[in-house]
Amino acid sequence: MMVSSSAYLILSATIFTIGVLGFLVRRNVLVMFMSIELMLNAVNLAFVALSRQLGSLDGQVVVFLVMTVAAAEAAVGLAIIICLFRNKKSVNVDDFNLMKW
């Protein structure tokens, strides 16, 4: 008995929602960054589930490319966080208000 694709999509939506919640509620910039990774992972799960549903591999190729972008994003984002910490001595996003009007 196969698990239906809608179950996978609902799981994906749940994890995505938890990621959005973490991004909105937490103030620690590292945890906010991890929430973004959580959202990317949830989208990957939806892509793979729909790839099985449609019987084609295109979705899996897209997931492969998403992982590449996530790796690049993590490298650059963490470098930016190191830079910010060096200047402000803080990881709280409320302290990073230099570019706020």
Binding site: M1, M2, V3, S4, S5, S6, A7, L9, I10, L11, A13, T14, I15, F16, T17, I18, G19, V20, L21, G22, L24, V25, R26, R27, N28, L30, V31, M34, S35, E37, N41, N44, V48, A49, S51, R52, G55, S56, L57, Q60, V61, F64, L65, M67, T68, V69, A70, A71, A72, A74, A75, V76, L78, A79, I81, I82, C83, R86, V91, N92
Partner: protein, 168 residues
Amino acid sequence: MEILIFSILAIVAVVCSIMVICQKNPVASALFLIATMVSLAMLFLLLNAPFLAVIQIIVYAGAIMVLFLFVIMLLNLRRDEFGPEKRRAQRFFGILFVFLLLIGMVTVIEVGIFGSKSTETVSEATAPAGVEPLAQLLFTKYLFPFELASVLLLVAIVGAVVMAKRRL
């Protein structure tokens, strides 16, 4: 049997991702995020995508999370630098609107996509699993995005070095 495995993995993934955003210590968050990613990799195996499962563990749970832990250790945060997170109104409205978002997405999935019963059946001619068909697609139809990804990684390497180095 498959439903049992799916349920266990789904519960582990959801609970661990809730723990990611509830932990005070970023190191604990990172460890729970690794647990989430490993259970998602198992779900990829269940979805007949073994290559992506392995890549998920190597790239996400391996490389990216090691980078995260490395940065957390490098910043050397003391307990008091985690700071107070007292924003009652923001937390309340965050949970409220995120709950509405979840209801909206579940409605779209159940009514919009799978409302008509004809699309519910998983196509019997399932796509072939393994590395070879994926590579076939990656080097023919998706060759340009693949090459673009390599350029993107180069840019990310240069950007990370420029950003993190004190003076070049």
